[in-house]
Symmetry: C2
């Protein structure tokens, strides 16, 4: 049995990935677990406090996935495939990546949360850059590892975005083929 704090975080994360932070309401959130909105404010005084927790949680779970990839996969192609699997799971769940959704709403974020978001993107890119660079010889492209990392991450974010509007997963599939076609 989970405590209310965790339940609220779970529901909030799902809601933000589906409908956005601006559309998230403390009232609706409270209704979903049968408490009042004032009780939600007990856990998260302001909406920005909740957003901060969501970003931190997403970051933690993401980084443990990345560590698992480093341990389990050997070839570069396998590592990048496993990385893309993270996005495929998000797509299957009819969600956007939290980062992608917040990026669309960046003008509504607190300054602090804007920085957290930027550093999360930056760290994902760094992981990709390092992963590419460590097995650079497996790459067949004129681009630098950093450029490939930037294009790959933003490409996957865009694929999730457009696929949601189109009701299928064709762009994520195309993006995956595109990225993997650069690796041997």
């Amino acid at each position: 049995m989970k405590d209310n704090r965790s339940l609220l975080e779970d529901l909030a994360l799902e809601s933000v990935q589906r409908h956005g932070l601006k559309a998230l309401s403390f009232r609706t959130l409270a209704d979903e677990i049968g408490i009042k909105s004032s009780s939600v404010h007990y856990y998260f005084p302001e909406k920005s406090d909740l957003a901060e927790v969501l970003i931190a949680r997403y970051r933690d779970e993401l980084f443990s996935s990345l560590q698992a990839i480093e341990l389990q996969s050997s070839s570069l192609k396998k590592k990048i495939s496993a990385f893309i699997t993270i996005f495929e799971r998000v797509a299957k769940d009819d969600r956007l990546c939290l980062c992608g959704m917040l990026a669309a709403e960046v003008e509504h974020l607190s300054e602090h949360n804007k920085q957290l978001l930027a550093s999360l993107f930056s760290d994902m890119e760094k992981w990709l850059t390092r992963t590419f660079e460590l097995q650079r010889t497996s790459i067949n492209s004129s681009l630098t590892s950093a450029q490939l990392a930037r294009a790959s991450l933003s490409g996957l974010e865009g694929a999730l975005l457009v696929d949601r509007a189109m009701g299928n997963h064709r762009r994520l599939k195309a993006q995956k083929e595109f990225i993997l076609s650069q690796l041997t």
Copy 2:
């Protein structure tokens, strides 16, 4: 001197590309040209009516740009470069592509506007697919023209999205290099 209808459309388009449709307020819009919100309802009875006009306008301007590209550019690389220029202009103006922003907010669109958005994406992909296919011999990739089109468009949308969160244009630049690296 533009009429109020056009002024409202201009301001609304800019606002949606920057802050999203959900954040767009008839009151604020009215204030910006010195009329009352009830007068905005005279032109656009409901918010979804305004959104529909914005999508149609965006579509018209986009397609005339695409036609110009077909007439002016010869090589495939030049055509695709010119296509990417459209996104570079959007980025320089600190906006998102209207389609990308609405895709993030797709759960809040009316059924009709959801369809308009999907068909706009679809037509952009068709244009790209046709353009790639017509000069297929200039492409150095194992992907089909349709897959390249899907990956390119969603990649550019994602680049705009992530770049906004990061405060620079590095992902759009990387995406451009990535796409053009497949063309001879």
